[in-house]
């Protein structure tokens, strides 16, 4: 590698006329030794092309600018920003009318956190292409980052005049208004973005802050619940081009992940497969390919990929986990246990795997083992409500009804907003086989509390009927149960009809229910 670099330096020195004429900056090959081979080859080839252009007297200035620029793009795509910078500067010097080079320089400076140089570069780009919406929006965003909303505003307004549907420009204007503490205007602009694109989740947080500022806490909380960590960015073909430039397993992986985020499963699959062509043993890529296939509905294909990974890289805990989850969803709990245990063997603090393992253990009548794992999950993640609830269910399976009751009652205290604990407790108080646990009156009170919160589900209706029966109010219980049965039949919920009918018959015979959850009801 050093030999090539030295050779290139000699070549560059041999083409002094170009460098001297244009006053260009020295460009060299960065240390490629730690890169993957495909990236090394690609960057070396690009550098060779550049040095050949430099060395060829017939190379036009525009061709030379392109060669510098293309090399710079590749370096930037490879996250070699220090090395990319002189390439873009040279390209810009040689082809001052080419919009691309100051535009890429702007992004390079922006990524380095160098706002003033980023602004200067985008300003140059804008002079060359005054109607470029992406440049206007990036400039506006940079001015906001600088704390200069007044300078940002005209950029966004101009972008919007050129492209009235530009969400990023409208979003920018909303941010300007927020920065200027013009909260009503901010709300108008940000709500307008949401009207255009209800999926623009990035809008919710600034919108929440605007509502909070005008005292509308309720609306603020609504938008805080909807917020997501996403950006509203302009369409940016030059950056898209950059992201597709480098040939490496990692770029295909990262592009595939983007496709997964966009729910474009076939595109994700194609990208992961391309990455695997470069690195067939890349466990992460193959695991992601399995994920894409699963999301696409190809469960068999996903299983094949996960199995391939666990066979070739048994320590790759993510694949062990995914395979375990896949098997679990098919009810193949014994196999799921094997793979989830393997995931935990590699990563002992893999809380999600432990939780899944505990769930599968319950399904193979190993509830006592499951409890131990739930306990550990709760040490690692005390607020994990699924673990807390399923631990109580495990107690029920072990006929430890008092432990189940106490566990649910404690959880109700620590998670007052989670209705599943109150509901679970009500179900247990209404129908536990242990006489010392049941408390029909308290069960009814809990159900009524949940009904006030509009938690009107079939499950809760069943619990209500159980609680009424436990309190000796069999006629009311039967009446509730009949309504539920009718509703289930009308809604084509055929699976629950036999259970509802079974309990209805009990209530009609003035017998309470003594089965809190049937096997098929268990989570």
């Amino acid at each position: 590698m050093r030999t090539i670099a030295a050779l290139a330096a000699v070549v560059a020195a041999g083409c002094a006329p170009h460098q001297q004429r244009a006053g260009l900056q020295a460009v060299s090959l960065p240390d490629l030794s730690r890169m993957v081979p495909s990236a090394q080859t690609q960057i070396r080839d690009s550098y060779k092309a550049l040095t050949q252009k430099i060395a060829t007297r017939s190379t036009t200035v525009v061709e030379l600018a392109d060669a510098y620029g293309e090399f710079g793009k590749l370096l930037m795509a490879a996250d070699q920003r220090d090395a990319a910078k002189p390439c873009f500067l040279n390209a810009q010097t040689l082809a001052p009318a080419d919009f691309r080079w100051p535009y890429y320089l702007g992004h390079l400076h922006r990524k380095n956190g160098d706002l003033s140089n980023a602004v200067a570069a985008f300003e140059r780009a804008l002079q060359l292409k005054p109607a470029d919406v992406a440049t206007l929006v990036w400039l506006g965003n940079l001015h906001l980052d600088e704390g200069h909303p007044a300078q940002a505003s005209p950029r966004f307004e101009r972008a919007l005049s050129l492209q009235p549907s530009s969400r990023s420009a409208l979003f920018g204007l909303g941010r300007v208004a927020l920065a200027e503490q013009q909260y009503t205007r901010a709300i108008e602009n940000l709500e307008a973005v949401l009207r255009q694109d209800p999926q623009a989740a990035a809008v919710h947080y600034p919108l929440a802050m605007a509502y909070r500022a005008i005292g509308d806490t309720k609306q603020a909380e609504v938008h805080l619940r909807l917020r997501e960590d996403r950006q509203v960015l302009p369409a940016d073909p030059l950056i898209v081009e950059l992201e597709t430039l480098l040939e490496s397993p990692q770029t295909y992986e990262s592009r595939g992940i983007q496709a997964l985020d966009n729910k474009d499963w076939p595109e994700a699959e194609a990208l992961f497969r391309k990455g695997l062509e470069l690195a067939p043993d890349h466990a992460a890529l193959r695991h992601r390919l399995g994920t894409a296939l699963y999301m696409k509905g190809d469960v068999r294909g996903a299983e094949d990929q996960f199995e391939h990974v666990v066979r070739t890289s048994p320590g790759y805990h993510l694949a062990q986990y995914s395979l375990g989850v896949l098997l679990q969803t098919q009810g193949r709990h014994a196999e799921a246990i094997e793979h989830l245990s393997a995931a935990l063997k590699t990563k002992a603090n893999y809380t999600d795997a432990r939780l899944r393992l505990a769930n599968s253990l319950r399904h193979v009548s190993r509830a006592a083992d499951a409890v131990l794992h739930y306990d550990q999950v709760l040490v690692e993640a005390p607020d994990n409500t699924e673990a807390r609830f399923n631990r109580a269910i495990a107690f029920v399976q072990l006929h430890r009804y008092r432990d189940a009751r106490n566990s649910l009652a404690d959880a109700m205290q620590t998670h007052p907003d989670e209705s599943l604990f109150a509901h679970g407790l009500a179900r247990l108080l209404a129908s536990a086989p242990d006489d010392t646990v049941r408390d029909g009156a308290r069960a009814i009170a809990l159900v009524q509390m949940l009904l006030k919160k509009d938690q009107r589900t079939l499950d809760l209706g069943e619990t209500f009927a159980m609680a009424l029966a436990e309190s000796g109010r069999f006629d009311e219980a039967a009446s509730v149960q009949r309504d539920l049965l009718r509703g289930a039949e009308q809604s084509a919920l055929k699976a629950v009809v036999p259970r509802l009918a079974h309990n209805l018959a009990k209530y009609e015979h003035r017998e309470p229910c003594r089965t809190p959850w049937t096997t098929d009801e268990l989570p």
């Binding site: 996250d79 919710h204 929440a208």
Partner: protein, 552 residues
Amino acid sequence: MPKRGDWFVDRALETGLDFVHFNGASGEFFYPEILPPGVALLDYDNDGDLDVYVVQGQMLGAGKSLTDALLPPPARSLPLRGRLFRNDLQVRDDGSRVLHFTDVTAQSGIDARQYGLGAATGDIDNDGCVDLLLTNFGTNQLFHNNCNGTFTDISRQSGIEDKPGVAVAAAFLDYDRDGWLDLYVGYNVNYTLENGTQCPNVAGVRDYCPPRTYGGQPDRLYRNVGHGKFVDVSAAALAGGTFGPTLGVSTADFNGDGWIDIYVANDGVENLLWINQRNGTFKETALLSGAAVNELGKPEASMGVDAADFDNDGDEDLFFTNLTGEGHDLLVNDGAGRFEDVSARSGIGPASLPYTGFGAAWFDFDNDGLLDILTVNGKVALEGRANGKFPYDQRKQLFRNLGDGRFEDVTGKAGKAFALSEVGRGAAFGDIDNDGDTDVVVANNSGPVRLLVNDVGNRSHWLGLRLVGERRDMLGATVAIVRRTGPTLRRRARADGSYASANDPRVLAGLGRSTEKPTLRVRWPDGRTEEWDNVAIDQYITLTKGGGQKRP
């Protein structure tokens, strides 16, 4: 501001504060390598000056030895263990100071040979001698100060010993007003060395993984039930919060109700604001409070953190450091615990964008009555740089408070020490030479400790206060310095904040050109208020609880 030499001068080596950190890296990119070291300032021998404790790393990886190290430690750093340096400050008759540090680790009884990350200080048993908590990649260690120059490891009997983890930040606070210091421990990621996840960049160049690769580990709140015996009350007291990878903790009364709250800086996920419910429990409110994410709703890296009343309006504002490209955050409190992100408007956000910040604190470096900011920086990812064994170094930054909500980056004027590019992590702030201005000890990853002696602050007037009650520094006590000729300054006695470090618990308030003898109104952590009138300035004084005039 007068122009006489550098504002800060590094005097570490010449004063005997000779410490070089070792991160144990061997090219395996074990996550903890990028976290340390923290540093603590504590007057462990009660001789009136601040001593220094610096945490140390170890070789990481099964079967690895120092010969595998990317950056081997110098021989003088062996054996590898945290070090305690006694400050032997001499003040001559003419007021000049002679600073000298002596390594007293061996005789101190502090045997800290785990992989050290951070430190916190507080007197856990009210015996008048400050104790030391060390946060580790491993199990945390609590050293009880025996009041005779030695310490005893009481980790197990104190009740704070937890299963091994990655704990970085910790803070002592009396959240239940019972007179005993409780303890909040912030845990970072769920990590073991066996986790072989690799995180190459787009070109396949290996780098450190982001914390989301491993996920967060729940923090712990320990209640001191008396005499330094702790009980883990996390489940009941911190219910309903979603913990993340914690790197910073700052405790203060954020909603102005007189009870101390807890702000937690999490790396890459939402920060937490635990508001004290005055019944032994906390409620997490960061999101609606505007203190969880940046102004776009994005969680940031949030490493070092500190709270103080930088705008002199009577409430605790927040500052925390972030990754390159995020910019550091300044959140202004409206007095009720609702925050507005003014990072961009203040100038701090844009000026800090090129930096990854760690240790940081509010302090009035020039004693003009306005709290300034210093950040020590150092990257955690290559960020487009390819060369070097550990190429994560960056310069420090100093921001001067202009008094109008804006800050000026005065790094270029601060002195040669600020031109050094190092992998900055911990920073502890305190008046090490007792000359009336705040000095800074900077702990660098894989590099030497720096002692930035402030040579500019005491050109202005100042007031140093030790707030004492229950025989100890009353962490969390606030003092209002009331003046006719200037705004009332509100400051808090605190050792927490910054990154993985412990600060001088004394209050040092800059008074600018004012020679007025102020009235001091102290609010103690138990809610009681006392007043002292006509207090002399340009000196340290001790205000003892019960010694002032009671106020409602």
